[in-house]
Symmetry: C2
Subunit: 300 residues, 2 copies
């Protein structure tokens, strides 16, 4: 599983039942929370996403519609007696906000919160399952995008051929990892005889609030799913630029230049009740576009 | 109109679609927001309560379930280009939290925010329509209750009698204010001839998170509607005391000792899905009790 669920897709002010930004990337192993606008903890409950699977939270920047729900989520996790560590990747100044609010409430979290300040474009999470990098986008204040890339090079076992060689099922995991099999008689079955290459690793890039910036396309090159903000329709490109936001067309241009497989647009301005035109405009430039709809889950 | 709408009635963690604490007291002139848990701005929209009628916000204490929605509301008001002044009555330390969050977002509010720190039991708002006082309640950290008292001494015009004396309708407002009427012939119609005393001023007391404390009954003596927290059912009185909260019975005892006309209980613990027992237990001690239900409006 490598699937993205949208918890909030609106910009600035909640409107038309659209919540401020929050997303969850769910993998087989865990869930990654990306931005955390007000009401995120209620949205997690509504869409039945387990808080206990979240070990990492990523905050793109310190505009409220991207983080005002964080302190509520952190304290609720504590009230529910969470014990497992939590890692927070965010602009450095957020630590002060959190500590101040905890101090004033005389609250001590039940778990260890590791604060990882975002200061340079680098790998921020790395294990044998996933690699996560942060990269700069261009907004009114410091703002970050996040690139998630699966790390899997497991091969697929051809069970029919494995049976011919009398390889026990207990050894399949080793086969997936590329090991050859030595049978009882001492002869070797080469791994390639009984496996084929596994699927290519999947990837997801989240481009939070940003003005149109072609450098982003380089940073998210060949990504499977690209989320790019599209706060305004194309006619408001001047307003978009003035406010360090993007239009439908600009998001689609980045997807095209990046060679993304699919584009997801969101962070819609509260001035728009209907979103149809967002899809029409972006699709005209980059066909495989979808709207980031609240409660929808996008398989990658 | 003197009516209370419940926007959130749960304690600590949102649960069972119950939001953290927030209430609005609506009068003919304006609306008063009391506490502002996460999601309050969405609840205001849901229940069609105009943000523009809110000139005063009261925060009882700095536990998150009573104020984490404030910064979102304040910034949304600014994004909507509010110009009228806003008055915030809250524990002194809240100012630092707000200013820090505004600074980090590089946000300047479009309106003037007047911060009124709560430091002693006193009158905090006073005009010809209403008088609002704060009083201490006993919680784990500094915590305040609020008492709202109407100031109206308008008399009621007996229209039938006023017609007999040929008093024009344009003069009725003066009659309500207690003026006598001088007719064209120069004779005086005494005010008491054509009016009766108006209804007595109404009052509402909000007792936020507090341990059972009989002194509160004195502070809210004879109030029309008393909101008192009842986080737990009566069997958990030890847990209630340990956490500086109250039970159903204790809330009802305060209402009885205060001689309140009606009691509203809320701030229910997330451990309870159903609330029926809350009503049963409290009503046994103080009959005129109601549950504070989200979205319900209680006329005073």
């Amino acid at each position: 599983m490598f699937a993205l669920t949208i918890l909030g897709n609106n910009s600035a002010i909640p409107a038309f039942d659209r919540n401020p930004t929050a997303q969850v990337l769910q993998t087989m192993e865990e869930s990654f929370l990306i931005d955390c606008g007000e009401g995120t903890q209620m949205q997690l409950a509504k869409y039945k996403i387990k808080r206990s699977r979240i070990n990492h939270i990523f905050i793109s920047h310190l505009h409220g519609d991207h983080y005002f729900g964080l302190i509520g989520l952190l304290t609720s996790m504590s009230l529910l007696n969470r014990t497992q560590d939590l890692h927070l990747h965010a602009p450095p100044e957020l630590e002060q906000v959190i500590n101040l609010q905890l101090d004033l409430a005389d609250t001590h979290l039940s778990y260890t919160l590791h604060f990882h300040p975002l200061t340079e474009e680098t790998v921020i999470v790395q294990n044998n399952k996933i690699l996560i990098e942060c990269f700069r986008v261009q907004h009114r204040i410091d703002c970050w995008g996040f690139l998630f890339r699966e790390r899997r090079n497991l091969r697929r076992v051809n069970a029919e051929r494995a049976r011919i060689y009398e390889i026990p099922a207990a050894f399949y995991e080793k086969l997936q990892q590329g090991f050859d099999y030595a049978n009882k008689k001492g002869s070797i079955v080469p791994n390639e005889e009984v496996t084929i290459p596994g699927p290519r690793p999947r990837s997801y890039a989240y481009c939070a609030d940003t003005i149109y910036d072609e450098r982003i396309a380089e940073k998210v090159k060949d990504v499977d799913l690209l989320y790019h903000e599209a706060t305004y329709l194309k006619d408001l490109h001047e307003r978009a630029a003035a406010r360090y936001h993007s239009t439908t067309i600009q998001a689609a241009e980045i997807a095209k230049k990046a060679g993304a497989r699919k584009l997801l647009i969101g962070h819609f301005s509260s001035k728009y009740e209907k979103l149809d035109d967002f899809l029409t405009e972006a699709s005209a430039v980059f066909e495989n576009t979808e709207l980031a709809l609240q409660g929808s889950c996008y398989m990658i």
